[in-house]
């Protein structure tokens, strides 16, 4: 999983929301791995990602999408083009 690249569009959004540089956005990055990614930031991140890819996540899944790679997988499952 760690060799996998984060698509640049997703990487840039998360960098903006989390106020970190795009290079720091790795597939393993997630809630709690950095201070900035708390529960409110998580909601912001999800909303920004939803807006960018015009998808809506199931609210009960949102708390489970706790890492970059999980968000990425959910986007692909929703048919988004990354």
């Amino acid at each position: 999983m760690s060799s996998q690249q984060v698509p640049s569009s997703l990487r840039d959004i998360l960098a903006d929301v989390l106020e970190i540089s795009p290079e720091e956005v790795t597939p393993e990055l997630g809630v709690g791995t950095i201070d900035n990614w708390d529960s409110f930031r998580h909601l912001q991140a999800i909303l920004a990602v939803e807006g960018e890819y015009s998808v809506q996540f199931d609210p009960s899944r949102i708390p489970e999408l706790t890492t970059v790679s999980l968000i990425q997988a959910e986007l692909i499952a929703k048919g988004a083009t990354l």
């Binding site: 929301v17 106020e19 409110f40 909303l47 920004a48 939803e50 807006g51 960018e52 809506q56 609210p59």
Partner: protein, 649 residues
């Protein structure tokens, strides 16, 4: 893809501007970025950038920095970056603190709460219908329930208790958000529209009562979020999924609109509206070019496209009726324009009498605006300029950057009124009698100028004006007028402290305090309440906190009368020394020598290093200021209670 390149380029340049702390460039570029993209991630990028240059925004762009506390019962966090960004675009920097979901009652009532300790300048109160009047949906379910009105009354009374209790301990400005009318209910649209106590009708009524309540609380605006939701589209305003899952009251697509609405709503609490609208004539006030098509040929009146121009004229007339001054700035022959206003009177929504001034000549418009500003004694930042010619618009933008410029859309004249209304220039939460009478007052000023040139010496001229000054408590000015004067007087304002209503009340009610307003009339008209002074006597010293006068009455000795009045009250309160303070700003040079001219001595010892304040003092036992002979004074004894308060304390 083109867009994305531009976007990346703008972001790179914003970062550069931010890292060199160049606030002006960063904001200009951010405006462009948000115009091309508006993606949530870009808004967050801007918010982060702005937060990093907050000091530069304040020092370089003179952005107003506001400690802002958000009292809420809903999730607001994802909206904050949008709020930060919109605020900066309107030249505010918000230092925000957010209250707890369930603690809003305690925050507003408890003098030891986090809100009270934060000592904010501005408080947003954002509650859901559930919290304000949670029983309404059930009570309105049958549409005829007779308990609905009582419930609304009780809900408003609860809110009133919260607001008054908070107000008694804080002078922060308050924005209170109303409720959004629910989009879907069990009654359906027909029932909602026709049944007397449907939820829709109940929420409308609730909002009206809440707005009426806010009018009775000083420095408080009602934020009509329902109006915003209706404009944006109720169906898209809320995302039920996120409301139920996260108590987020808005869909993410509404964040920007909502944040902009919040900023526009609180802004009149801190900023005075612009005062003058200068309009061009050809292809702006009417269609076509008068010089080419003649008075019969220009488009105005009830038929298209003339009705678009008529609509604009009516809009101007409406602005004028609440005190916005109208002026014509046009390159035309004066006689032709007068003829057109006469011949086409029936098709025009305005007459020449509606304009405070007309500058119809072949002079440069920049020169005409400068001239007008001087004649009206108003700063250029009070002006709005509307013109269809892009070259004229650009010239004004470059030469007079303080003036707000609206480019009239020649090909789409139906858009002009919307373009104008979309701007916050003329927003005011309060309109006073003085606003309404302003046109006559400024016209009288022109007549006075004429008399001045015919009268012999100055004293004789001033005596011939038959000026009467009436002193009254700043609370009876009315208070809204006093606060308005504090907020917008720039040139003759010794300390430029923008006190809130509550702070004025504190001066009026504290022992030894004085809060005096002055009303002026003369043989040409009533200028209304035009001056204000706040002072406080402690021991043998009376310190003047604020002294200001509307610039249209400067030079007639009225400022001296105000000072003399303060002096008399101070003596009555036991003072022997009057201390004046001057804080220089970009605009108040006209009153820099006020205290020296009145015999005060500069006090070098008490200079306050943390501010730019310069202090002056005057010995009241030997040199108390006196009112000029040509003024008739009224209400001189009315401020007794401050003197007696000192005796009592």
């Amino acid at each position: 893809m083109q867009n994305d390149t531009e976007r990346q380029d703008l972001r790179r340049r914003i970062k550069e501007a931010a890292s060199s702390q160049d606030a002006g460039t960063a904001v200009t570029l951010a405006r462009r970025l948000l115009a091309v993209s508006g993606k949530p991630a870009d808004v967050m990028f801007c918010a982060t950038t702005f937060t990093g240059i907050a000091d530069a925004l304040t020092s370089q762009l003179r952005a107003k920095r506001l400690k802002t506390y958000i009292v809420r019962s809903v999730t607001i966090e994802p909206i904050l970056p949008f709020l930060t960004t919109e605020a900066v675009l309107s030249n505010y920097v918000l230092d925000m603190s957010i209250g707890g979901y369930g603690s809003y009652v305690d925050e507003l009532l408890n003098p030891q709460s986090a809100l009270a300790k934060f000592k904010p300048n501005l408080v947003f109160i954002l509650l859901d219908l559930e919290d304000i009047a949670g029983r309404l949906p059930a009570l309105c379910a049958d549409g005829i329930g007779d308990a609905v009105e009582a419930e609304i009354g009780e809900s408003v009374a609860r809110v009133e208790h919260l607001l008054r209790s908070f107000r008694s301990g804080s002078s922060a400005r308050i924005l209170f958000q109303g409720c959004v009318v629910p989009d879907q209910t069990s009654l359906g649209d027909v029932g909602e529209a026709n049944l007397p106590h449907s939820l829709t009708n109940a929420v409308y009524q609730l909002n009206q009562k809440l707005a009426a309540l806010c009018r009775t609380i000083s420095d408080c605006v009602f934020f009509d979020v329902d109006h915003l939701a209706a404009r944006h589209g109720r169906a898209n305003w809320r995302d039920a999924r996120m409301f139920f899952a996260s108590r987020l009251p808005l869909s993410s697509a509404s964040f920007g609109t909502y944040a902009a609405g919040l900023v526009r709503s609180f802004s009149p609490l801190f900023r005075a509206p612009r005062k003058v609208l200068c309009t061009d004539l050809d292809n702006t006030l009417w269609g076509g070019v008068l010089g080419e098509e003649g008075p019969e040929g220009i488009a105005t009146g009830s038929a298209f496209p003339g009705n678009c121009y008529l609509e604009y004229q009516r809009h101007l007339k409406q602005l004028s009726s609440r005190g916005i001054l109208l002026a014509i700035i046009s390159k035309n022959n004066d006689a032709d324009v007068r003829e057109a206003f006469q011949i086409r009177a029936a098709d025009l929504g305005l007459t020449l009498e509606d304009f405070v001034a007309t500058k119809i000549s072949w002079n440069e418009k920049e020169a005409s605006i400068r001239e007008l500003a001087e004649e009206l004694s108003l700063g250029l930042d009070s002006f709005v300029f509307v013109d269809d010619n892009p070259v004229e618009c650009e010239a004004i933008r470059q030469q007079l950057p303080e003036v707000a410029v609206i480019a009239a859309p020649v090909e789409e004249p139906w858009k002009l009124v919307d373009l104008l209304s979309a701007q916050p220039f003329f927003d005011a939460a309060v309109v006073t009698d003085d606003d309404v009478n302003r046109l006559n007052e400024y016209k009288a000023q022109a007549q006075r100028a004429e008399l001045a040139s015919s009268a012999g010496n100055r004293d004789e001229f001033l005596a011939s004006l038959e000026i009467v000054c009436t002193f009254l408590s700043a609370l009876d000015a009315p208070l809204a007028r006093s606060v308005q004067l504090l907020a917008k007087t720039n040139q003759f304002n010794l300390t430029t402290r923008r006190h809130s209503a509550a702070e004025v009340e504190a001066f009026a009610s504290s022992p030894g305090g004085q809060a005096v307003a002055i009303r002026v009339r003369d043989r040409f008209g009533d200028a209304g309440v035009v001056g204000l002074a706040l002072a406080r006597t402690e021991g043998d010293t009376c310190s003047i906190d604020s002294l200001l006068l509307s610039c249209r009455v400067i030079g007639r000795g009225i400022e001296t009368a105000l000072l003399a009045h303060l002096g008399e009250n101070a003596i009555r309160a036991g003072a022997t020394r009057l201390v004046g303070e001057f804080i220089p700003t970009k605009k108040n040079a006209p009153c820099a020598d006020f205290y020296v001219d009145h015999g005060f001595l500069q006090d070098a010892t008490s200079r306050d290093a943390s501010t730019d304040s310069i202090f002056y003092q005057l010995d009241l036992t030997t040199a108390a200021p006196e009112s000029p002979r040509w003024l008739t004074l009224e209400g001189n004894e009315s401020n007794e209670f401050s003197a007696s308060a000192v005796v009592a304390s």
